[in-house]
Symmetry: C2
Subunit: 323 residues, 2 copies
């Protein structure tokens, strides 16, 4: 990993551990500690700090502000797990399984408040950081609602899907990069470009996730291949198939998906259609397009070249492709 990304990740981890979480009530704060301890790349705050470093070296306060995004992100995951009735997260019990749903709801609520507390370290930039955080937080809620509504949508269009993932996952990454620029004193032009980098990266990562769910090597990713298909989820693979498939192929996919029982045979049948349509190629092109665009946008940013290189290298690692 790029040295600065590794360094910032460690700083964020240290901050997360240092945050004031009292012992009691234990049923309120233990789940928070537990959830934060489940780990993760801390990608969002790391991106914020890499972005800031284009313009200035992040201070200790900036690290605290960046950690706000991680706390908020974890809050959304905690509540999402309840809404998705998920038994596991990173191989461990979800909070509502380990404790119960009520505790999950309340602990999540308090975690959101903690994220706002961390924002308070933004100094002179606070009002803009705060207002944009609120807008982003609402967009994330809108995206999650759209995701929940998506299953019942009769004929969702690819734009609907892209809008849903933009709100649900991309805007927070956009905010992360924007935040770093803001704390670093970036110009309005650079701030907008950083945000756009984040949106594009977010869309790219989600499309990658969708792709890997079906075409990824289960040994590398530790997941059942075709988990989304088994769950009847309509991801980008479905969307593109609806766009480019023949009437027969579309009919076949709809028929398979409408079955109430889905198993590995279902996955095979769906993958047959996907392969016939060379969906994997088309998705790969889509992802390449996104990350080529990211590479180009980073080039156009102002800021220190070494810092731009660290950002590009970090994203390249995450995207597992040249940027």
């Amino acid at each position: 990993m790029s040295q600065r990304a590794k360094y910032f990740r460690e700083k964020i981890e240290a901050e997360l551990v240092a945050i004031d979480l009292p012992a009691n009530p234990s049923n309120l704060y233990d789940p928070m500690r537990y959830f934060l301890n489940l780990g993760g790349k801390r990608m969002r705050p790391v991106l914020a700090l890499l972005a800031e470093e284009l313009f200035t070296e992040p201070s200790e306060s900036d690290i605290k502000v960046a950690s706000a995004i991680e706390l908020f992100h974890n809050f959304t995951l905690l509540h999402d797990d309840i809404m998705d009735v998920a038994p596991l997260r990173r191989g461990q019990q979800t909070v509502h399984e380990k404790w119960n749903e009520n505790i999950g709801i309340l602990s999540g609520d308090a975690l959101m408040v903690k994220s706002y507390q961390q924002l308070a370290f933004s100094g002179a930039h606070f009002m803009e950081v705060f207002k944009r955080f609120n807008t982003t937080a609402l967009e994330v809620c809108e995206g999650q609602q759209m995701d929940m509504d998506f299953e019942k949508k009769p004929d969702p269009a690819t734009e609907d899907y892209l809008e849903m993932i933009r709100l649900k996952t991309a805007v927070l990454i956009g905010y992360s990069l924007w935040l770093g620029g803001k704390l670093g004193g970036a110009s309005e032009g650079d701030l907008q470009n950083l945000y756009r980098v984040g949106i594009t990266v977010g869309l790219g990562f989600q499309i990658m996730d969708d792709f890997l769910d079906v075409f990824g090597d289960p040994e590398s990713f530790g997941k059942t291949p075709g988990g989304d298909i088994l769950a009847g989820k309509k991801t980008i693979l479905w969307m593109l198939s609806m766009d480019i498939g023949t009437a027969d192929q579309i009919k076949k996919l709809k028929s398979i998906y409408s079955q109430t029982q889905r198993d590995s045979k279902t996955v095979d049948e769906v993958m047959e259609v996907f392969s016939a349509l060379r969906i994997d190629q088309k998705i790969d092109e889509l992802i390449r397009e996104k990350f080529d665009s990211v590479g180009s946008m980073i080039k156009d940013l102002n800021g220190k070249e070494e810092a731009k290189e660290e950002l590009r290298a970090y994203l390249q690692l995450l995207a597992r492709r040249t940027i």
Copy 2:
């Protein structure tokens, strides 16, 4: 009602309607509109504005800031209803009943963000208003957690109960009065006193609620008498009985409460013990002590006499006793 309280209530209602709540996603924003429309006295923001008026006339911005407390309060109620598995609120379906639990969780989350957005109108006072709001919000979560834990507590002491209601309901009323003083430019001494007024009022109201649940006139309050007893809830009546009851009376109450089936006969049995202990008198003394203290604290506040009188009159109305 005092004229100013009535006026501020109308201003708050107008603000709540004016808040930007988009049409879509409808499953995110409709429940918010619905919940805010269930009504209520808007006591917290009204108290904030009455408190501010001791020092200065509230501006339009101040009305927006005060409405933040109402939005936050409503968010806590929305989530509480889910956690309490409540079918009704103010005679109408709760959000999770009318829609579903997931929608209730998410809509509540978004409502919390909306409350933060309203805080942004605090001008020069923002950082203090914001920090104190966060502390208060966490305390409310702690109180709710303590309430959920309370049922399993083997021998809860009266101080535990009072601490639980202090956090769960009183601190937000304390914050409301503090906020009004802050927006009005009150001195540190007046701010602390206003907060104390709020805490005392909050404790007084909760103790009143507990009392009226058992001893109130069902026709006036539209609730089943002894609802708390039927639910096996240990409120101030239980606490005091444990403190002053004989060994036999305590044994009797514990035995009745440990029954899994509770009905109107249960309520009668419990009320027999309460009456023998003259619990109603003791509680009435406790409430009187609280509100006498409120009256005295209001007298000691600085600020315009007419405004102090409006505040006192409003509280007197809510407390249904002389202050």
